[in-house]
């Protein structure tokens, strides 16, 4: 029997003082003030849905990173670091940096010069209406559901950490997001994401600084972790030779080909939630620099996410346990490690800032989901399929109403999850079904001019169905994981990696076979959409140190050095 989450009310982790409450309230006042200030600058479709396409590289880059830096991400991966050790860093380094650089240098020019409003919009231009419809409907549906799941998770965290009523958290956060996105559109969402970026670093960076001080430095921390857990908890690659040599139960093939080559590429290059921020850049150089700036900062996010998890292993007096055990025993779960570390070092004021950083992370993630949903609904579903003759003003109004409706659907989903907790697992699994095949479709569309509309559509459909099939197979028979992940020692995370890899390959094979059997588009039709038929716009005659390729090289070099240091 499923226990409704609302019935589980553990003891709160921290108590806020008056100054902490003032800091939290000031944050809400500031985001609403930004929304009201920007309300006069969201009157046209370009303004409301694309922030006027006038964002600088820094604003677009930090917003791009922030849209992914939600509080669930922070707390979840800090918990994973406690559970699996430094291996969790792969999701920040090889599972992000190559994909972000690939987006900047290879894919961004196509998104940008096609002047599309969305990723489904690009699919329409390249493969036709059916591919766009599949992609847009699945994305819109999943985005609001994910927003609801995140909203519920936030409310639950606030209940556990602060003792706040779950309804209060849901309604205050959702109404605030609805107000500032409805008023200011994407520009308002982006501004608040940049604000959130600074708050997260200001609120979380003290934990690793003080934690390393308490542990006696990195060398001593490694010794303590080796004593309390295992030496493999502080090595990135040396334990990935086989499934049994590391705490995650995965091997290097899953990490390199599943995570880095497919899941990460799919997420960072085709998930419209993050790509939308880059499309708002003011020119092609800014559009290319934005993901590179995001990648530069992404490399250092493990400082405030992974390191606190590792420090928790060494300095926390209690042992943390899985969520299911925590719910049954009243002990703290892995996911509590970040709030526990916050409470350990942060007194009045600093605690409020840390909590504000978590709330800001939740709200900006919700705003990102809602603004992406609004754009895809208006431009890729409503306009082509329902009303293609509206004025620009009509579509802006539709966007505002869709924002409110999207938030309300998210709230409804949050309450649904509250009653049936298992829905959360299903929704998160559903989201993963679309990412890998979508990447296969988009990348073939950009790089291979022979790919046809029927090929792209059927490849996307078959890849998605194969992903659902593998997930259902393992759900019905858990021992089937040995076939999906190619090892009897594989654990749950390995399933995600290999499932993505196989569904990507299914998508690519079906697309290639069907394309070769169907009539290709002419070169003229594909100009501006495919490599080899498109003059990629130049960033201009600028000094080498201002060129995106130069900074991508710098980021790639630091990425390699970091992996070698923590090998």
């Amino acid at each position: 029997m499923t226990i409704p989450y609302a019935l589980i009310v553990p003891t709160r982790l921290v108590h806020l003082s008056a100054v902490d409450v003032v800091i939290v309230v000031f944050y809400f006042a500031l985001v609403l003030a930004i929304g009201f200030y920007l309300r006069g600058r969201a009157n046209t479709g370009e303004d409301f849905f694309m922030a006027g396409r006038e964002m600088t590289a820094w604003v677009a880059g930090l917003s791009f990173l922030s849209a992914n830096l939600g509080a669930l991400e922070l707390m979840g991966w800090a918990g994973s670091a406690y559970q699996y050790g430094i291996l969790a860093t792969h999701w920040y380094w090889i599972g992000a940096i190559p994909a972000m650089l690939f987006l900047a240098l290879v894919m961004m020019p196509f998104y940008y010069i096609s002047k599309t409003h969305s990723v489904p919009g690009y699919l329409k231009l390249r493969f036709g209406e059916p591919a766009r419809a599949v992609s847009a409907v699945s994305f819109a549906f999943m985005t609001v559901l994910m927003s609801g799941v995140n909203m519920f998770a936030m409310a639950k965290v606030m209940q556990i950490v602060l003792g706040w009523d779950i309804n209060f958290s849901i309604w205050v956060s959702s109404l605030t997001v609805a107000v500032y996105v409805t008023l200011g559109g994407l520009r308002s969402a982006i501004f608040n994401e940049v604000l959130q970026f600074f708050l997260i670093w200001a609120g979380a960076l003290l934990i690793p600084i003080l934690g390393l001080y308490e542990a006696g430095g990195w060398s001593n921390l490694k010794l303590q972790i080796a004593q309390r857990a295992s030496d493999q908890y502080v090595h990135l690659w040396s334990g990935l030779g086989s499934f049994t040599d590391n705490p995650m139960g995965i091997n290097w093939i899953g990490i390199v080909f599943g995570l880095a080559a497919v899941i990460s590429m799919g997420y960072w290059t085709t998930d419209f939630l993050v790509v939308q921020r880059i499309l708002a850049a003011k020119d092609i150089r800014s559009a290319e620099m934005a993901p590179i700036i995001g990648a530069g900062f992404k490399m250092f996010v493990p400082l405030i996410v992974i390191l606190p998890g590792l420090l928790g292993l060494a300095v926390l007096p209690m042992k943390l346990v899985p969520e299911s055990v925590a719910a049954a025993t009243g002990m703290h779960s892995y996911n509590d490690v970040l709030p526990l570390m916050l409470a350990r070092y942060c007194g009045p004021g600093l605690l409020g800032l840390g909590i504000t950083a978590l709330i800001a992370g939740f709200m900006s993630g919700m705003a990102g989901n809602v603004s992406a949903f609004t754009t895809v609904w208006t431009y890729d579903i409503y306009r082509p399929l329902i009303n293609s003759k509206g004025t620009d003003h009509h579509y802006v109004n539709m966007g505002r109403w869709t924002t409110v409706i999207g938030v309300l659907i998210s709230v409804g989903t949050a309450y649904l999850v509250m009653q049936f907790a298992s829905i959360m697992d299903y929704v998160q699994a559903l989201f993963s079904f679309f990412i890998a095949p979508l990447f296969g479709t988009v990348i073939l569309g950009m790089l291979w001019k022979r790919a046809t509309g029927p090929g792209g559509f059927l490849g996307l459909l078959c890849g998605t169905l194969s992903s659902i099939g593998m997930w259902a197979w393992v759900k019905a028979d858990p021992s089937a994981l040995r076939y999906v992940a190619l090892s009897p020692h594989a654990k749950a995370l390995a399933q995600d990696m290999f499932q993505a890899l196989w569904s990507f390959l299914v998508c690519v094979i079906v697309t290639v076979v069907v394309s070769l059997a169907t009539k290709p588009k002419t070169d003229t039709e594909l100009t501006g959409l495919v490599y080899g038929l498109t003059t990629v716009p130049s960033v201009g005659d600028i000094p080498v140190y201002q060129k995106p390729i130069f900074w991508a090289g710098v980021v790639a070099l630091v990425f390699l050095i970091l992996n070698l240091i923590f090998w």
Binding site: Y37, F198, A202, L350
Partner: protein
């Protein structure tokens, strides 16, 4: 249009002042339950750092200021 960096500056400045104030207050009125490494007075120097950065952002990106 007011720069986004000005809003960032406001946020860092106000939060920095509040944290610095709370840290200074704690020096004169130490709490009964102290956090780990309380003796380092992290609130004071972290709040001061945020205040300085926030003030610099506010000054440099204040509305109407012409950049050199």
């Amino acid at each position: 249009m007011v720069s986004i960096w000005f809003f960032i500056g406001i946020s860092l400045l106000v939060n920095g002042l509040l944290i610095l104030g709370a840290g200074v207050y704690e020096i004169w009125h130490p709490p009964a339950e102290q956090v780990v490494l309380y003796s380092l007075h992290a609130s004071v120097w972290w709040g001061a750092l945020m205040t300085v950065i926030g003030a610099a952002y506010c000054y440099y990106f204040k509305p109407g200021r012409k950049k050199a």
